[in-house]
């Protein structure tokens, strides 16, 4: 994989999210715990609500527009709602957040 450094974990609020602009569109970077990070599409499949503005709980996020809940591990909508958001590989290294560049259409820096 082609890991790209996108920032420090402290730049994302705990139980919150920040937006990452990428060639494949806006991605929401979620911080679900002191050192727990997920990345997923920022756009809810229902009415395109910005998921980075939603309430982050456990390892899920609730869309701010109509309360669809997505599991950040799988991207699947929970409960009776039917839909899925793309999720992207991310990892932490000494507090730095790295995202898989190949998955977001980013060619290697080299």
């Amino acid at each position: 994989m082609n890991w790209i450094d996108i920032g420090h974990i402290e730049e994302v609020p705990l139980r919150g999210a920040r937006v990452l602009k990428t060639p494949v569109g806006c991605i929401a970077v979620f911080r679900t715990g002191e050192a727990e990070i997920f990345a997923a599409s920022n756009s809810c499949p229902h009415k395109q609500g910005p998921l980075s503005e939603g309430i982050v709980h456990g390892q899920s996020v609730t869309c701010p527009l109509h309360n669809w809940v997505f599991d950040l591990n799988t991207g699947e909508a929970q409960g009776s709602d039917d839909g899925r958001i793309d999720v992207y590989p991310v990892r932490l290294e000494h507090g730095r957040i790295l995202i898989d560049g190949d998955a977001i259409g980013q060619r290697s820096a080299a």
Partner: protein
Amino acid sequence: MKQKLVVIGAGMASGRVLEHLTDAAPDAFDITLFNAEPRGNYNRIMLSPVLSGEKTYEDIVTHDDSWYAERGITCRFGEKVLKIDRDLKVVEGENGHVAYDKLLFGTGSTPFIIPLPGHDLEGVIAYRDLEDTHRMMGMGPDNKVVVIGGGLLGLEAAAGMAAHGVDVTVVHIMGHLMERQLDEAAGYLLKKSLEDKGIKIRLLANSKQILGEDGKVRALLLDDGTELPCDLLVMAVGIRPATALAQETGLAVGRGIHVDDQMVTSDADVLAVGECVEHQGEVFGLVAPLYDQAKVVAATLLGDEAAFQQKTLSTKLKVTGCDLFSAGDFAEAEGREDIVFRDPARGVYKRLVIEEDKLIGAVMYGDTADGSWFFGLIKDETCIEEMRDTLIFGPAYQGGDAADPLSAVAALPPEAEICGCNGVCKSDIVEVIQGGAGDLGAVRATTKASASCGTCTGLVEQLLQVTLGDDFQMPTAQPICGCTELTHEDVRRLIKSKPLKSQEAVWQELGWTSRNGCHVCRPAINYYLLSDWPLEYQDDPQSRFVNERKHANIQKDGTFSVVPRMWGGITNPAELRAIADAADKYDVPTVKVTGGQRIDLLGVKGEDLPAIWADLNRAGLVSGHAYSKGLRTVKTCVGTDHCRFGTQDSTGLGIKLEKILWGSWTPHKLKLAVSGCPRNCAEATCKDIGVVCVDSGYQISIGGAAGMDVKETELLCQVPTEDEAIEVVMAVTQAYREGGKYLDRLYKWLNKVGMDWVKAQVVEDLENRVALVARFELSQSIYRKDPWAEHAQEKARDYAPLADLTLEAAE
């Protein structure tokens, strides 16, 4: 011929190397041991029991003089190494040279001292060696000590001194204690146990300066202006590998001295061991890996094959009465699942982290008996697929019970107040139930509990169930959400009576089944906590809906609307110009006059919010809170200023009320209006609180609405003066704040508690009215401020993207 080995540093790691070496091959090396401390090797991790008085220094000495003598080790204690010449292979100490064939660095680590102003004052120490320990042991019941750092070492230092009766305050920069080893829930329980030991703990506290007097420490100043007086200040914020000597010697050094799997540095004749090394990017602070390294060093020196491998670690805190355990990786990365178990009655919390049918992390508090079993599963990477459902109950599981939803009530102490209106505590209620009161009506009749506002009804019923068991049939009540069995009313009451002052306290003590709630319960809990504990609890923006977190209303296309406040609906040309300029500058597509007598800028981009706020702030405009479950507007008519029918200064009263109430959070939105005469041009009688001016004074009515339900207000009272009208409005607002269910408008709350109850609280009982006003004012001392100014200045970063990878792609 004997080889010459020089060891620098007589610590636990190098001590273990010497043991292995002299046991395996007593005659292989001629050993010289340098140590800057004037003593040999002692068990540094047992300093905490020495501090607390459970052990003495003699108990923790690992190697005494005779041990070194028997093994023929030349000790040069209290002597610093000045220089190393790797070409000549000579170590230069303060008292002369020694030649070596092999050299071992065991220089350990140095405590990190935060370079705060005043860090060099007398009485500012680290917690690292016996000297520091003695300084702390010199403190007694008359002394105050501040410890900076809520990690393992800082807490052991604090607990050790508290055991001697010292007044100790721990200052920690993070949101929970031991954040590297514990999650929030276990951190909360740990904080509670330490507070029970009399230790004061301040979380999210930033140290600003150490204050001194005559060169000696006097107090620690926090950046919020708090001064914490102290006779001794202990910094326990972490350690750094001691690499200065290695660096001067020209060895490869990163965070620590680089070593390979054989513990050899960049020089084949120089090895390193312990806290001073860096192996595959990691540095080490716990003792287990250091002992593993020591074994490898001894083998390498003797020419045997060995390789150091990093392993999963577990942590236990050496504080009597704080039973905690953490192992493995309990955070980070996707594809992981949690199993959470809480027993509020026993103060137990357990969390297991599972990935691909393997246990990879465990955090436990209160009951750590199964710790080593879980640690074994982690280390051995055992497949837990088969036992997954019962895993959390440990190896002895025989078919245990599910968590008891009643346990939170059962765990309440007898003196906990159940009914706030009538001051009835748990023991009063249990007594009458045992005396024959078998249902809610009987309890009400005999104790008055739940007989006034009724919000504690659920708890009284649970007490009936706990006391009578199956003889009592619980009515079914709607729990808040899937995370709990409790209703809003139960939770509100329990937050007050337990008392619970943090989210973690609520999750744990009330047995929440999720890690940190969900989008339904968390905003409610956040509101209840900030409303009941305005000073102790800090509002959590991450527990709020987007509008309240971003202080603007989100629109269907993801843009926001911005509504500046216009006090009482009054504005002026300068404000209007600033609004017009902002609309131009930020390409605002729609400018609309709202129903609340102000102007709405619709379609502002999220990233532009801090900038547009800063511009509006410069013209004196502040947030209109058009997005909040809190005070929205106070609508007014022109009153006696201009109107020929006006009886009082309705505009002036509206502005006064708005300036008093703005910024306050309420269970749902709160709209007010003041009309200058009964013609009611400000439509006061369909607001949550409406004031209609008459010749003889002010009619205050409450419980109106003009939304999905349209309601006319009901008269609360008429008062003769403006001051009294303001007081009544504040008091009724506070009563609603304290008792309302989250997302109930005022009229819904009024339906539940009844107008008679509100009149009794706010109109008839003047003492109570004054108390309500005082509590409202206390809360407003925190919340009566402009969030826009704060966000524009301090949080602007969070409104911008974390990074923009599209720019790089274009290049």
